[in-house]
Symmetry: C2
Subunit: 113 residues, 2 copies
DNA sequence: CCATCATATTCCCTTATCGGTATGCGTCAA
DNA sequence: TTGACGCATACCGATAAGGGAATATGATGG
């Protein structure tokens, strides 16, 4: 049972580096599949499959334009991720104070390895 | 070649729902493995394995406390994720304007399926 | 040193994922 | 209608992830 109910989850969708690349590119505007594939150095089926995942979680939208199919960004799904990580914001500041205490302490016990 | 170079990446670490739960719990303070497992309804080995992933990407730190091993949050690694998604912030506002135009357009062509 | 408790690791199985290649399907032009 | 183009899907192989159960490791108390 690999990766449990992770599928079709936005967190999972952006766990893939190439999919993140696609999203970054789409900030500049819509693109057809072939152009995405070319810009990212992947095959056309590869791009299509990543786009399918992104579409299923709602991060991209597609639109027909003649023979082409233009993919566009729908970044609204990224907002929950931004907010989720934002829930830790106080902790990554606090880390420098409270965590440093840990780090000293565990260096003392765990250094012989 | 499943999941490519995703491994040992923070994005991948938080792609797992249970690992996200662990991080949320650890905001309230350090905890031993067994307590985490109990609170999340998973087995002890299961918790240990998830904690291992989180440790390898630097999201948690462990510290010995007698027979126990206390895990604590190190949220600094979440900051890049927060910033990455933040790079799309203007787009999830803009979406309501620009994207709605797409959506109307593609409903017209893609509705027969 | 031995027993015990807490945790990590290993093994096994099932399943998902990624990449590539080949192929199917829809659209447009002639 | 046919052929070319753009893209999606199916299939295949390799990989590795997640869960469970059993076991190993490590520290502690007596």
């Amino acid at each position: 049972m690999a990766r449990a109910a992770t599928t079709s989850d936005v967190f999972n969708a952006i766990a893939e580096p190439q999919r993140r690349e696609i999203l970054l590119l789409l900030r500049a505007g819509e693109r057809p599949v072939t152009e995405l594939a070319r810009e990212l150095g992947m095959t056309q089926p590869g791009a299509s499959k990543h786009l399918r995942v992104l579409r299923e979680v709602g991060l991209v939208r597609d639109r027909r334009a003649g023979k082409q199919r233009l993919y566009g960004l729908d970044a609204r799904g990224l907002r929950p991720v931004h907010e989720w990580t934002g829930g830790f914001e106080q902790f990554w500041n606090e880390s420098f104070d409270r965590l440093d205490a840990y780090l000293q302490g565990l260096d003392r016990t765990g250094q012989e390895e």
